[in-house]
C-alpha cells in the first residue's frame, strides 16, 4: 500500500510537473489583423476571420492573392485555404510570437517569420 501511494503520489507530482511545463501562450488575435511580409511572401488578415496570401516572387499581385479563413485560439493558428475549384486545404500552425510588428508561427515542418507592414 505504501508502495502504491508512493507511485500514485509520484504520478500526481509528475502530472503537475509536466502540466506546469506545458506551453500555455494566449495571443491576442486582434494583433493579427493587417498586412504581414516575409521576404516576397505576404499575408493579410482581416478581423472577420478572412485573409489572403501571395508571393510576389511568383509575379502575384495582392489583388490576385488566394483566400483563406483563419482562427487563432491561444497559440493555435488554423488557416483553411479555400480553393476556387472547391475544396479546402487546412493548415495548422503554432504561433510563437505575435506582436504589433512581428508574427512568428511554425508547423508542417516549417517556420515563418513576418513583420507588419503598413497598408
Amino acid at each position: 500500500m505504501k508502495k502504491f501511494l508512493y507511485f500514485f503520489g509520484l504520478s500526481i507530482l509528475g502530472v503537475l510537473i509536466f502540466t506546469g511545463c506545458d506551453k500555455d501562450d494566449d495571443f491576442d488575435d486582434a494583433l493579427l489583423t493587417g498586412k504581414w511580409q516575409s521576404g516576397t511572401l505576404f499575408e493579410r488578415y482581416f478581423a472577420n476571420g478572412t485573409g489572403y496570401r501571395w508571393n510576389t516572387a511568383d509575379d502575384v499581385r495582392e489583388d490576385e492573392a488566394q483566400d483563406f479563413t483563419w482562427t487563432l485560439v491561444k497559440d493555435e493558428l488554423t488557416q483553411i485555404h479555400i480553393m476556387e475549384i472547391g475544396g479546402n486545404v487546412p493548415r495548422y500552425y503554432s504561433v510563437t510570437e505575435l506582436t504589433s510588428t512581428r508574427l512568428r508561427y511554425e508547423g508542417h515542418g516549417r517556420k515563418y517569420s513576418f513583420t507588419k507592414v503598413n497598408n
Binding site: 508571393n55 493555435e76 480553393m83 475549384i85 472547391g86 487546412p90 495548422y92 508542417h108
Partner: protein, 1090 residues
C-alpha cells in the same frame, strides 16, 4: 393681039414719063424747100407757143415712094428756163411724115403711113414750184381741149373713124425729164424703135419694135438704170382693157437705193398680159439674167443666174394683191416654184397664202452664195447634199405677227465635214416638217420624220417632234445608232486618256424640255433606250473594259414604277462576257450576267435613294493583287432604301444565292459550295466608329460545303452545312456541322447579346449543343485563344493575345475569350488532348468572360471512368489559373500514375501499391505564360481509397519491413487504404491513414516537399509483436534515414497520445474529404434535378 401690046406699053410708059416729068417739075420747081419752108415757118410762128426754128421743109416723093411726104430738117423749139440744163425744149434733126390724105379726105380717117424721127431731143424741166419749160404746151392743149370739148358737145363723137399709124420710126431719140417737185430725173437716150398702131373708135392695137433704149430713172436716193434694152411686142387697148405681149431680147439694169445695189445683166424674156383699170393678169418670163445684189457693202449675189417664169399671174393694184400660179424662179439653178396669193391691206399688213416648192437645191451651191462676210462661220466646214422643200405660208405678216409657215424639208445624200470634228458625216437624208407662225407655241412644231446619217463605219437615224419652240423647247425624239466606237476616239478629249473599240447598236428615246435639261430636272425627263455592245472595248486611264454580247437598257422614269419599285430610273444590263480591269492588278470577269437596277432620284441629298438591284450571273471572277474570287451562279437582290425614321440613313436588304464560291486571299482560301443569304442592314448609328455599332444586321444564312483555310486559323475549317438566323442581338444556329482540323462536330444553339457585347453593355452569351465524333481540344484551343481580349498599354509587356508562331502554330498560353458567356452542352465520342484520349465525354463547356469551365464532364479513358470539373482562367498572360476537380472511382493505381504522372510526385508511396482504387483530387494553381507552376499558389486536396490492394515489394518497402520485421513476400495484400493529403505550395501533407497488411496494421502520416525531401512517421498499431512500434522515415528517396520511435497513433485511428496536433490532423482530414465529396454530391444533385 400682039399688035396691041406694043402700043399699050408705049402708052403706059409715055404716061409714066409724063407723070415723072410733072412730079419732078412740082418737086423741084413748084414745091421747092425754098417755097415750102417759109410757109411752114409762118404757120409755126402762128401756132407754136415757143420759139420755133425750122431749118428746111421739103416735099418728098421718091424717098417715100409711092406716097408724098413732108420732111422737116433741124426743127428746134426753144424754151429757155431757169434751172434747165438746156434752152432747147425739142429738137428733131430730121422729121418725116407721110399721111394718107386720100383716106383723111374721103373716109375721114387718119392714116399715117410713116413717121420718121431721127436724132431727136426732148428736154423737159419742172422746177420746184411746179412750173415747167413746156407749160405753154399744156396751156395750148387746155385751149384745144376746151375747143374739143365744145366740139364734142356738138358732135358727141370722135372726129376720125380711124387713126392708123402704119409705121413710126424713131432713131436716136433722147428724152430728158427733170421734175424738181418730186426730185425725179428721167432720161431715155439713144432710143431707136419702130411703132405701128391703129386706133379705131376706142380700140387701139399696135406693135413696137424697140431696137435700143437706155433709160435712167432717179428719184430721191433711188437710182434705176436700164441700158441696151431691146424688145418687141404687140399691144392693144379696148376700152379699159389693155393687153400686151412683149419679148425682151436683151437689157441691163442697175438699181441703187441707200446701201442696196442690184445689177441685172443680160436679161431677156417675155411679158404678156391684160391690164384692166384695177386688174392685171399676165405672164412674166425672164429666161436669163445675171444678177448681182449687194446690201450695206456686202455682196449677196454675184452674177447669179436668175430665171423667172410666172405664168398666169394676177395683180390687183388697189389691193396690192398678187396671185402667182405655179411661178418658178431660180437663182443659179436653185429653182423655186411658188403658187398662191399675197395682199397688202390699207394698214400695211400683208396677207399671204403662198405655197412653194424647192427641188434638189444643192447645199454646196447655196453655201457658195453666202456672202464673204459670213464665210468665217463656215471656216473648216465642207457640206453638200440636195435640199428639197415644199411648203405653204399663210396668214398675216406684220411687225408683230408672222404668217403660219408649213414647211417640209427633205435632205438627200448630204455630207458634212468639219475640220475640228474629225468624223465626216455622209449619206445624210432627212425629212423634216416645220409648222410655225414664229409666235404661237401651241401651234408650232418641228417634226423630224426621219433623219439619218452615216460615217465611214457608223450610222444613226433619228425621228420625233420638237415643239414649244418659243418658250421652253420640248423634244420628243427617237434615235437609233449603229456605231463603230473606234471612230469616236478622236472626239474624246486627249486629257481623258480614253479609247474605245467595238460596235454599239442602240436606240434612245428622249422626251424633255430645254429647261429640264438646263436645270437637270431628270425626274421630269423621259429617257429610255437600249444599247447592244459587240466586241466592245474601252480603256480609260488605267481602267479597261471588254464586253462581248452585252446589252444595256435604261429608262427614265422607271416604267415598272409601283408602290414597291422606285420610279426614277431603270437600268438593265446583260452580258455574255464582260471583263474589267484596273491597273492590271484588279480585274473582274462576268459570264452570262444579267443585272436589273431600279432607283429613285439619287440626287436628293436629304434622303438615301431607294435602289433595287437584281442580279443573276452564271460566273463571276475577280482578282486584285493576291486576292482571287470566283463565284458560280451568283444571283440575288439588293435593295437600298431610306430608313423610315431617318431618311438620311440607309436601310439595306440583301438576298444572295450562289452555287460555288472560291476566294483566295494571300494564304487564305475559302470555298463555299452553296450560299443562301438573306440579310438586312440598317445604319442606325452613323456616328459610331465601330462597324457593328453603326449597323443593325439581321437575316438568315444557309451555307453548305464550305472550306476555310485561313492564315489566322491554325487548322482548316470545313462547314458541310450551317443554317442560322441572325439579328443584331442574336445568332440562332439552327444547324451547324463543322470540321475544324481533326475535329468534327455538330453545333446548334443560340448566341445572344451580340450588339450589346459590341457596345460593351453586356457580355456575349451562347448556349450550344456540341455533338462531336472527335474533338481535338488542343486545336480548338489554339483557334479560340485570345478572342475578345483588347490590348492595352498596361499589358503591352505581356500581351494577353494568343501567340501564333510564324508557321501558324499555336505557341503561347491559351487565353480564354473575354466578354463572352458560352455554354456548350457537349456530347463527344472521342476527345484528344495532346497524346491523351477520352471517350464519351458528356458535360458542359463554359466560357464565361475569360473563364473556361469544364463542368461535370464525365468521360472514359483506358484507365477508368472519370468525372472532372475544370476551371481555366486567364486574367493575365503571365498569370493563368487552372483548377481541377477530378474524380476517378474505379481506377488501377498504376494506370492513375501513368495517366497523371504528377501524382507520383505528390504521393510517391502510391508507386508501392497495385490494385483498384478510388481517387479524388481538387487542385488549383496559377501558372506563368509557359505553364510553369507558380508554386506559391499551388493548393490541393486529395483522397485515395483502395481495398484489396497489393503492396509491391520495392526497395523502400523492404527497408521499412525490415525495421518492423515484416515477412518479405513479393506481394503483400493490403486490405484497405484510405488516405487524404493536401498540397500547399511546395509541400504535400499526408494525413494519418491506416493500412492493413496481413496481421499488421500501420498508421502513416507526414509530409514531403516537391523537392522530394520528406519526413514520415509510421505507427504500428497492430502486429504480432507484444509491443507497439513507431518509425520515422526522413531524407530523400536516395538517402533515407530511419529511426524507431514511440508510435504516434493508437489502434483504430486513435491517436497514440492526446497531443493536439494529432487530433487536429484528424479533424482537418475530415474537412478535406468532405469538401472533395461535396463536389460529387453537387453533380449528383444536378443530375437528379435534370
Amino acid at each position: 393681039m400682039k399688035r396691041y401690046i406694043k402700043p399699050a406699053i408705049i402708052t403706059v410708059l409715055s404716061i409714066l414719063v409724063v407723070l415723072f416729068i410733072i412730079i419732078s417739075v412740082a418737086l423741084w420747081l413748084v414745091f421747092t424747100p425754098e417755097r415750102l419752108t417759109p410757109i411752114v415757118r409762118n404757120q409755126a410762128e402762128k401756132h407754136m407757143p415757143y420759139q420755133t426754128e425750122i431749118g428746111e421743109v421739103e416735099l418728098t416723093f421718091f424717098s417715100t415712094f409711092p406716097q408724098f411726104g413732108l420732111r422737116v430738117n433741124d426743127l428746134t423749139i426753144l424754151s429757155p428756163y431757169s434751172g434747165a440744163t438746156n434752152d432747147t425744149l425739142l429738137h428733131a434733126g430730121q422729121f418725116t411724115g407721110i399721111i394718107d390724105f386720100k383716106a383723111w379726105w374721103k373716109n375721114d380717117q387718119v392714116v399715117i403711113e410713116k413717121i420718121v424721127l431721127k436724132n431727136g431731143l426732148v428736154n423737159l424741166f419742172t422746177d420746184s414750184t411746179g412750173n415747167s419749160n413746156f407749160s405753154l404746151f399744156l396751156d395750148e392743149n387746155e385751149k384745144i381741149k376746151d375747143e374739143t370739148d365744145e366740139k364734142e358737145k356738138s358732135d358727141s363723137e370722135f372726129s376720125f373713124d380711124l387713126i392708123n399709124i402704119k409705121r413710126a420710126d424713131f432713131d436716136n431719140l433722147n428724152i430728158y425729164y427733170t421734175d424738181l417737185t418730186s426730185n425725179i430725173v428721167t432720161e431715155v437716150t439713144q432710143l431707136s424703135t419702130s411703132i405701128t398702131g391703129k386706133m379705131e373708135e376706142d380700140n387701139i392695137i399696135g406693135s413696137i419694135d424697140l431696137k435700143n433704149a437706155n433709160i435712167i430713172f432717179q428719184m430721191e436716193e433711188m437710182y434705176t438704170e436700164v441700158g441696151n434694152l431691146a424688145a418687141t411686142g404687140d399691144f392693144g387697148i379696148q376700152g379699159d382693157e389693155i393687153t400686151g405681149s412683149f419679148d425682151i431680147k436683151r437689157g441691163n439694169a442697175i438699181y441703187l437705193y441707200d446701201t442696196m445695189e442690184a445689177i441685172v445683166k443680160n436679161f431677156s424674156g417675155s411679158i404678156s398680159g391684160t391690164m384692166l383699170p384695177d386688174h392685171i393678169v399676165g405672164n412674166i418670163n425672164i429666161s436669163q439674167s445675171l444678177i448681182t445684189f449687194g446690201y450695206d457693202g456686202e455682196t449677196y449675189l454675184d452674177n447669179a443666174s436668175v430665171i423667172i417664169d410666172a405664168p398666169s399671174s394676177t395683180f390687183i393694184p388697189s389691193r396690192v394683191f398678187l396671185n402667182l400660179d405655179n411661178a418658178k424662179a431660180s437663182v443659179n439653178q436653185l429653182a423655186a416654184h411658188v403658187s398662191g396669193t399675197m395682199e397688202v391691206d390699207t394698214s400695211g399688213i400683208i396677207h399671204t397664202d403662198m405655197g412653194y416648192q424647192l427641188e434638189n437645191w444643192r447645199i454646196r451651191e447655196i453655201i457658195a452664195m453666202i456672202p464673204p462676210a459670213f464665210h468665217e462661220y463656215l471656216e473648216g466646214i465642207e457640206t453638200d447634199g440636195l435640199v428639197s422643200s415644199t411648203g405653204k405660208i399663210t396668214g398675216i405678216y406684220s411687225d408683230s405677227v408672222m404668217p403660219l409657215m408649213d414647211i417640209k424639208l427633205q435632205l438627200k445624200n448630204g455630207s458634212f465635214n468639219y475640220a475640228e470634228y474629225p468624223l465626216p458625216l455622209r449619206n445624210m437624208n432627212g425629212d423634216v416638217h416645220i409648222f410655225t407662225d414664229l409666235a404661237d407655241d401651241a401651234r408650232s412644231f418641228v417634226r423630224i420624220n426621219r433623219f439619218n446619217a452615216s460615217t465611214t463605219n457608223s450610222s444613226f437615224t433619228t425621228s420625233g417632234v420638237i415643239n414649244r419652240l418659243f418658250s421652253d423647247i420640248h423634244t420628243n425624239l427617237s434615235t437609233s445608232a449603229n456605231l463603230w466606237m473606234e471612230e469616236f476616239n478622236h472626239l474624246i478629249p486627249e486629257e481623258l486618256n480614253t479609247s474605245m473599240k467595238g460596235r454599239l447598236n442602240g436606240r434612245i428615246r428622249s422626251n424633255f424640255t430645254m429647261s429640264q435639261m438646263e436645270n437637270m430636272e431628270l425626274e421630269k425627263m423621259k429617257l429610255s433606250g437600249s444599247a447592244t455592245f459587240t466586241e466592245f472595248e474601252m480603256v480609260y486611264d488605267t481602267i479597261s473594259l471588254k464586253a462581248t454580247g452585252s446589252k444595256l437598257d435604261f429608262a427614265l422614269p422607271n416604267p415598272d414604277f409601283s408602290d414597291k419599285n422606285p420610279g426614277f430610273a431603270q437600268i438593265k444590263f446583260s452580258t455574255s462576257d464582260f471583263f474589267a480591269s484596273v491597273n492590271e492588278n484588279m480585274q473582274t470577269t462576268v459570264k452570262n450576267g444579267e443585272l436589273l437596277l431600279e432607283t429613285s432620284d439619287f440626287r436628293d441629298s436629304t434622303r438615301v435613294p431607294q435602289v433595287i438591284c437584281t442580279f443573276n450571273l452564271e460566273e463571276l471572277y475577280a482578282e486584285m493583287d493576291t486576292i482571287r474570287l470566283s463565284i458560280r451562279q451568283p444571283n440575288g437582290r439588293f435593295t437600298l432604301a431610306p430608313m423610315a425614321e431617318n431618311p438620311e440613313q440607309p436601310d439595306i436588304e440583301l438576298y444572295y444565292k450562289g452555287d460555288y464560291l472560291e476566294l483566295f486571299a494571300g494564304e487564305n482560301n475559302i470555298e463555299i459550295g452553296k450560299v443562301d443569304l438573306r440579310t438586312g442592314l440598317q445604319h442606325v448609328a452613323p456616328s459610331e466608329e465601330d462597324f457593328f455599332m453603326q449597323w443593325l444586321i439581321n437575316g438568315f444564312l444557309d451555307m453548305s460545303d464550305a472550306n476555310f483555310a485561313l492564315h489566322a486559323l491554325s487548322y482548316p475549317v470545313q462547314i458541310p452545312v450551317v443554317k442560322m438566323d441572325f439579328d443584331p442581338e442574336n445568332f440562332n444556329f439552327k444547324e451547324g456541322r463543322m470540321i475544324i482540323g481533326n475535329s468534327d462536330f455538330y453545333l446548334a444553339g443560340e448566341m445572344r447579346n451580340i450588339l450589346s457585347w459590341v457596345r460593351g453593355d453586356s457580355i456575349l452569351t451562347g448556349r450550344f449543343n456540341f455533338d462531336s465524333e472527335i474533338t481535338d481540344v488542343t486545336q480548338l484551343m489554339s483557334l479560340t485563344s485570345g478572342l475578345g481580349i483588347e490590348e492595352s498599354v498596361e499589358n503591352l509587356d505581356e500581351k494577353t493575345s494568343a501567340d501564333i508562331a510564324n508557321n501558324g502554330e499555336f505557341t503561347g498560353p491559351y487565353m480564354v475569350p473575354q466578354g463572352v458567356d458560352f455554354i456548350l452542352q457537349s456530347n463527344i465520342r472521342k476527345v484528344t488532348f495532346g497524346v491523351d484520349t477520352a471517350r464519351n465525354v458528356l458535360g458542359e463547356v463554359i466560357i464565361n468572360d475569360g473563364i473556361l469551365v469544364l463542368q461535370d464532364l464525365t468521360f472514359s479513358t483506358s484507365a477508368a471512368d472519370m468525372q472532372m470539373t475544370s476551371i481555366y482562367r486567364t486574367p493575365r498572360k503571365n498569370h493563368l489559373y487552372l483548377g481541377l476537380d477530378f474524380h476517378m472511382l474505379d481506377i488501377q493505381i498504376n494506370d492513375l500514375l501513368n495517366l497523371i504522372p504528377d501524382i507520383d510526385t505528390i504521393m510517391p508511396m502510391l508507386r508501392s501499391f497495385d490494385g483498384t482504387g478510388e481517387f479524388h483530387i481538387a487542385v488549383e494553381t496559377y501558372m506563368d505564360s509557359t505553364y510553369t507552376l507558380k508554386m506559391s499558389t499551388l493548393r490541393g486536396a486529395s483522397s485515395v481509397v483502395g481495398n484489396d490492394l497489393v503492396l509491391m515489394d520495392g526497395e523502400t518497402f523492404g527497408q521499412i519491413a525490415r525495421r518492423f520485421w515484416f515477412s518479405r513476400r513479393a506481394e503483400n495484400k493490403v486490405d484497405s487504404l484510405s488516405a487524404e493529403f493536401t498540397i500547399f505550395e511546395d509541400q504535400v501533407d499526408i494525413y494519418p491513414f491506416l493500412i492493413v497488411i496481413d496481421r499488421y496494421g500501420a498508421i502513416i502520416s507526414g509530409n514531403h516537399n516537391l523537392d522530394m525531401t520528406f519526413d514520415y512517421h509510421i505507427s504500428l498499431v497492430r502486429s504480432p509483436l507484444p509491443f507497439r512500434l513507431g518509425l520515422n522515415v526522413r531524407g530523400t528517396p536516395d538517402k533515407m534515414r530511419y529511426g524507431l520511435r514511440w508510435p504516434r497513433y493508437g489502434r483504430y485511428y486513435r491517436p497514440s497520445s492526446q497531443r493536439l496536433v494529432a487530433n487536429k490532423q484528424l479533424e482537418l482530414r475530415d474537412i478535406i474529404r468532405q469538401s472533395l465529396l461535396q463536389n460529387i454530391r453537387r453533380r449528383e444533385e444536378n443530375q437528379n434535378q435534370e
